[in-house]
């Protein structure tokens, strides 16, 4: 009676741990040659006096081995463009209605080179890395800024 209850609890724990160990089991079985995609695998676990086997079916990998690292969310050209336009709209010398991705700072928006330096500095703050002077002075439209940032951050999407 007690042994049956013990066996039942052990089985449920082993089932949970088998689910956790599926990763290791799968990698181990992946090294061995596979006959078919679905095959039963026996997991033998012994605990004290109880000995039993449980069939664990391996289906097509529906899970992913997942490692957790800390990093920023991946950048896309969309997100870069949104952030650039947002920063530009916050700048007090720019009229937000007239702003477009192709508007030239000096010709369309009437800014001068000092303002352009300020804008590039705001971009540096937003994206967290320095833009050298030589390249900064060439960026004259928001589209060019987005292009430059995408190049620097290796964003192709």
């Amino acid at each position: 009676m007690a042994s049956r209850a013990l066996a039942h609890s052990v089985r449920s724990i082993a089932r949970a741990s088998a689910r956790l160990n599926q990763g290791n089991v799968l990698t181990r079985s992946a090294c061995a040659p596979r006959v078919s995609t679905q095959r039963p695998l026996s997991v033998i676990s012994s605990n004290q006096r109880t000995r039993w086997t449980e069939l664990v079916r391996i289906t097509e990998p529906s899970f992913q081995l997942c490692r957790h690292y800390g990093d920023l969310p991946p950048l896309t050209i969309e997100s870069i463009q949104d952030r650039v336009m947002y920063v530009l709209k916050l700048y007090d010398k720019i009229n937000p209605e007239k702003l477009q991705t192709s508007s030239h700072f000096m010709k369309d928006l009437g800014l001068d080179s000092l303002d352009q330096v300020e804008i590039i500095m705001a971009m540096e703050d937003e994206f967290g890395f320095e833009i050298p002077d030589a390249e900064a002075e060439k960026l004259m439209t928001p589209a060019e800024i987005v292009q430059y940032l995408a190049d620097k951050k290796d964003v192709y999407v």
Partner: protein, 88 residues
């Protein structure tokens, strides 16, 4: 052959280099000002720097510009030293 096709408003080499220097000083100044811990001080200094540079924007005399660049660099060094003394 290329010189004859340049527009009349193009800068000479010396003027171009000087313009680059001015923009470089402005950039360094803004970077240092960004490090100032107090928000209202930072805003005041930023407005001051903007004012100073904009006021003398239309200066064309090379020597005067050179003097102003030196002045700006002195200000920059002062700011840098005070910031390092203040510990940031």
């Amino acid at each position: 052959m290329a010189a004859s096709r340049l527009p009349p408003a193009a800068l000479s080499l010396k003027q171009f280099l000087q313009r680059q220097k001015v923009l470089g000083v402005y950039r360094n100044l803004l970077r240092i000002i960004h490090k100032i811990p107090d928000e209202s001080d930072r805003r005041y200094m930023r407005d001051w720097a903007r004012e100073e540079f904009k006021r003398n924007k239309s200066e064309t005399n090379q020597d005067v510009i050179r003097m102003m660049i030196t002045q700006a660099q002195n200000h920059l060094e002062d700011l840098r030293k005070s910031l390092s003394l203040a510990g940031c």
